[in-house]
Amino acid sequence: MKITVTRSGGIAGLTREWVVRVEEQGDPDSWFRLVEQLPWNERYRSAPGPDRFVYRIGVSRRHITLPEQQLTGPWRQLVDRVRDAAEQPEKE
């Protein structure tokens, strides 16, 4: 299972992308448990805020776009974990 986090926007307008293949991680089961908790029915509620980051998150073939103000709970946990894993693969 591939998880992709694409962060765009911010005052710099720089797009960053972090990709993780769950099967290659040290503890795949904990990743699967986290993925099962994701609230996919979340909708982009707030009007886009000036210079706020926008996250596009893909898990296998499902995608969701959320402004950083709504990046809470399991979505926030997932994004932080993907970033950590993608930036420091030796630790997993």
């Binding site: 694409t6 765009s8 926007g9 911010g10 005052i11 710099a12 307008g13 720089l14 797009t15 009007a47 886009p48 805020g49 000036p50 210079d51 706020r52 980051f53 926008v54 596009r56 776009t65």
Partner: protein, 312 residues
């Protein structure tokens, strides 16, 4: 309610009889420290009349708000963000390694950067002014932050960000760098800043960040779902139009092209969904109103938009 707002309201109340009269008060600034959390507003650390803080980020935000407030007050006769002497609220040290600054509808918020690509976001006056200008846009044209109207919203923040810096430095359009966010990158990044209004697409070219993706004219307009429809990308097009107009007119950009742009956003004639063509027409119209039809300002504005491929 924090003390600065309370004080402001008391003062406003004492002059209640003048309600409706246009009073241009000095800035009412309050800077808060989020202590590397994402909780706003954080702890109040500096208000009007306080001694400078030992924390450089606090003082940069405080002074930057002062310079920006001064441009709007002294040049455009505008009383703060809302033209009604709104207190200026800022929060520094937001989040951990947070590579960003933003306007949240009520306050300006600044991260410290990750130390690898970015240092602290208060290090650039144009960035501080950019965020305050988002507040001014919210209270004037209120351009929808998506697609072309979003790119205009972004560009307006870059325009006033650059103008605050130019006015403080006493730069003509020829002297000015036209770089937004100079000094934000660490030494490890190959780049001048976040964006170049003079030459969009040339601000940085780095192994890690890649090349500045901004288009400089309509033929390179970027269609994307990212960044609310590329608001920080396509802003390069109206940014360059402003640069071209200001340079063709010469003198102080803030009182020529800057005045035209300010008249455009505050004039009540453009819709929140305004696109590039609508904005271009409105700036030409405001240039004619302010400086005369066929004045050098009017012609420079029209020509600038034609050069970047925005036809009227």
């Amino acid at each position: 309610m924090d003390e600065s707002i309370r004080r402001h309201r008391t003062v406003a109340g004492e002059h209640g009889a003048q309600r409706g009269a246009h009073r241009l008060e000095p800035p009412a600034r309050s800077i808060f420290d989020a202590g590397r959390t994402e909780t706003l507003p954080g702890a109040l650390v500096r208000s009007e009349g306080d001694e400078p803080s030992p924390d450089i980020a606090v003082n940069e935000a405080f002074d930057g708000f002062g310079h920006t407030h001064a441009l709007f007050r002294e040049v455009y006769d505008r009383a703060s963000i809302d033209d009604d002497n709104l207190p200026l609220l800022g929060t520094v040290h937001f989040g951990r390694d947070y590579d960003n600054a933003f306007w949240d509808g009520e306050r300006m918020v600044f991260g410290d950067g990750d130390g690898m690509v970015f240092g602290r976001f208060t290090a650039s006056l144009s960035v501080i002014a950019h965020e305050l200008a988002h507040g001014v846009t919210q209270y004037t044209a209120n351009l929808v932050y998506r697609g072309q109207s979003g790119a205009l919203n972004e560009s307006i923040s870059d325009v006033f960000g650059a103008l605050v810096e130019q006015r403080v430095l006493g730069h003509t359009p020829q002297d000015a760098s036209w770089i937004i966010g100079a000094g934000l990158f660490t030494d490890q990044v190959e780049g001048l800043g976040l964006r170049s209004m003079k030459a969009p697409g040339t601000a940085y070219d780095d192994d890690v960040l890649g090349k500045d993706p901004q288009p400089a004219s309509m033929e390179d307009y970027i269609d994307t779902v990212l960044d609310n429809g590329g608001v920080h990308l396509n802003s390069g097009i109206p940014n360059r139009a402003f640069y071209l107009a200001a340079t063709a007119i010469g003198g102080e950009a803030w009182s020529s092209a800057g005045q035209v742009w300010y008249d455009t956003i505050s004039g009540g004639t453009i819709p929140a969904s305004c696109d590039f063509v609508g904005f271009a027409r409105a700036t030409a119209s405001k240039a004619a109103d302010r400086f005369g039809a066929d004045s050098i300002e009017h012609r420079a504005v029209a020509e600038a938009w034609a050069t970047v491929g925005v036809g009227m």
